[in-house]
């Protein structure tokens, strides 16, 4: 059997959240640079330039990219040969706490949706667990901002509404969001599954690599169609007009009930901060 030490997890989670809040992924920066060259709207172009400038200041002057350093969202892929002799969830929350305390990040979590009392350390994180073969622990994290999350939507369509129904719902969501979700966006679309599964699919979609395409032909076609249509809406950077409304559309699908066609749209703002790290399990001496 194998394990990953508690301290290694705590420190990794801490470093990932701090790093993501200050350093935007280079591939995403390249996307902004390409978009800035192609943007024809004057204000849109100037906003894209400022987004590029902002990430340079963040990196070089140690200031978070955005004041909304988000809710800590974590996807774990746990190798089946790994065992943990400690509370994994507690270790992760310790890592999150350290990141937000030591990294000068904003604490944006309240204890109860109605009492609105701040937990003061940005915990608890939202953690999703999956199992994979092997002895590695893959950690994917994102500090997810509230503005774009608030504009995300879910709808249970009828199967007869088909692709057109999905496209209309996605476009309607982007239009309703306008500048509020801080475009240019990464649009995560979940289709299929059921009520809770489809929301998770949409979230997993925004965790995908910025330049990848779906392996499913149906989903890939939908991604291309949606990206084109979204960028024809003239919403543009920060909703002030232009060609650059979305940088990418990611569609994740799952089988569903004969009666259902669930669709969820999770929006990611332009400050699309995320990280992934793989920890390799260490062999433990088994006395059995």
């Amino acid at each position: 059997m194998y394990t990953v030490e508690r301290n290694e997890i705590i420190n990794t989670i801490k470093d990932m959240f701090i790093d993501s809040a200050y350093n935007l992924n280079n591939k995403l920066v390249n996307k902004f640079e390409r978009a800035e060259k192609l943007e024809t709207n004057k204000l849109g172009k100037s906003i894209l330039r400022k987004i590029i400038e902002n990430q340079v200041i963040a990196k070089t002057e140690n200031i978070p990219l955005c004041q909304d350093t988000g809710v800590a969202v974590i996807f774990l892929e746990i190798g089946r040969q790994l065992i943990f002799s400690y509370d994994l969830e507690k270790a992760i929350n310790t890592g999150v706490r350290k990141a937000y305390m030591d990294g000068y990040l904003r604490k944006s979590i309240v204890q109860h949706p109605l009492n609105r009392i701040n937990t003061l350390d940005n915990t608890p994180a939202i953690i999703h667990y999956n199992y994979i073969p092997g002895k590695n622990l893959n950690i994917h994290i994102a500090p997810k901002g509230g503005g774009s999350e608030n504009m995300s939507r879910l709808k249970m369509l009828s199967p007869s509404e088909g692709e057109e129904g999905i496209i209309n719902f996605v476009l309607e969501t982007i239009k309703l969001a306008g500048g509020k979700a801080c475009p240019p966006l990464i649009v995560g679309v979940g289709i299929g599954g059921n009520f809770e599964k489809v929301a998770l699919l949409a979230k997993q979609a925004i965790f995908r690599k910025i330049n990848d395409s779906s392996k499913s032909l149906i989903d890939r076609n939908l991604e291309e169609k949606l990206l084109k249509k979204i960028n024809q809406l003239d919403i543009g950077p920060m909703g002030l007009g232009g060609l650059t409304t979305a940088l990418a559309v990611k569609v994740n699908s799952y089988p569903c009930h004969i009666a259902s066609l669930p669709v969820a749209v999770n929006l990611q703002c332009h400050s699309a901060r995320k990280k992934e790290v793989t920890l390799v399990g260490k062999k433990i001496n088994n006395s059995n």
Binding site: I47, K50, I51, E53, N54, Q55, I57, A58, E61, N62, I63, P64, L65, C66, Q67, D68, T69, Y104, L105, R106, K107, S108, R116, N118, L120, G147, N150, G178, G179, K180, C182, M238, G239, L240, C269, H270, S271
Partner: protein, 174 residues
């Protein structure tokens, strides 16, 4: 070319602002977002004194990240304004003249804005690091228990904003 504005901004200057115009603000502005708005409006409704005199002032919808020991402020970009729509009319009726946030506002907000000859400005969202460079003083003045939502008085130099809804109700939002 951006128009330079220095606080306090008087009535005649404010009335010349036109939707779409870019401005650079220098002087004092006050931070307040969701929770602080609720407390400000509660105080007004109870006829209590607000922690600062909102008359003719500028309120900026922001909850910054904590400053490092060598910094004035952390990241400090605007938050979405629509969540303040419920509270803003009361503040405008009591003299608040300029609000800075991001995104569109409700019709009821715009109606109150015109009645009170106020102006709504937007800053660019997600530029928290860049905008922090315009802040040269940062004093926490009220509602400490709200943590990142406490009210701060900021002194800014050339803080960039765009006139989104002018005092006549003209708007840059479609």
């Amino acid at each position: 070319m951006e128009k330079k504005l220095t606080t306090p901004i008087n009535d005649s200057t404010r009335e010349t602002l036109i939707a779409g115009q870019e401005v650079l603000i220098s002087g004092y502005i006050y931070t307040a977002r969701d929770a602080a708005h609720k407390l400000l409006v509660d105080a007004i409704n109870k006829k209590e004194k607000t922690p600062f005199d909102i008359k003719d002032q500028i309120v900026y919808y922001v909850g910054p990240t904590p400053a490092r020991p060598n910094q004035v402020i952390g990241a400090c970009g605007p938050t979405s304004s629509y969540r303040m729509d419920k509270f803003s009319p009361t503040l405008m009726e009591n003299g608040l003249k300029i609000m800075i946030g991001k995104g569109p506002r409700s019709d009821a907000f715009t109606k109150s804005l015109v009645e009170n000859e106020a102006v709504y400005l937007i800053a660019i969202g997600g530029l928290g690091a860049k905008l922090s460079k315009t802040v040269i003083e940062n004093t926490k003045i009220a509602y400490n228990h709200l943590e990142s939502e406490a009210i701060h008085r900021l002194k800014v130099i050339n803080f960039p904003a765009i006139v989104a809804i002018d005092s006549k109700g003209n708007s840059i939002f479609k």
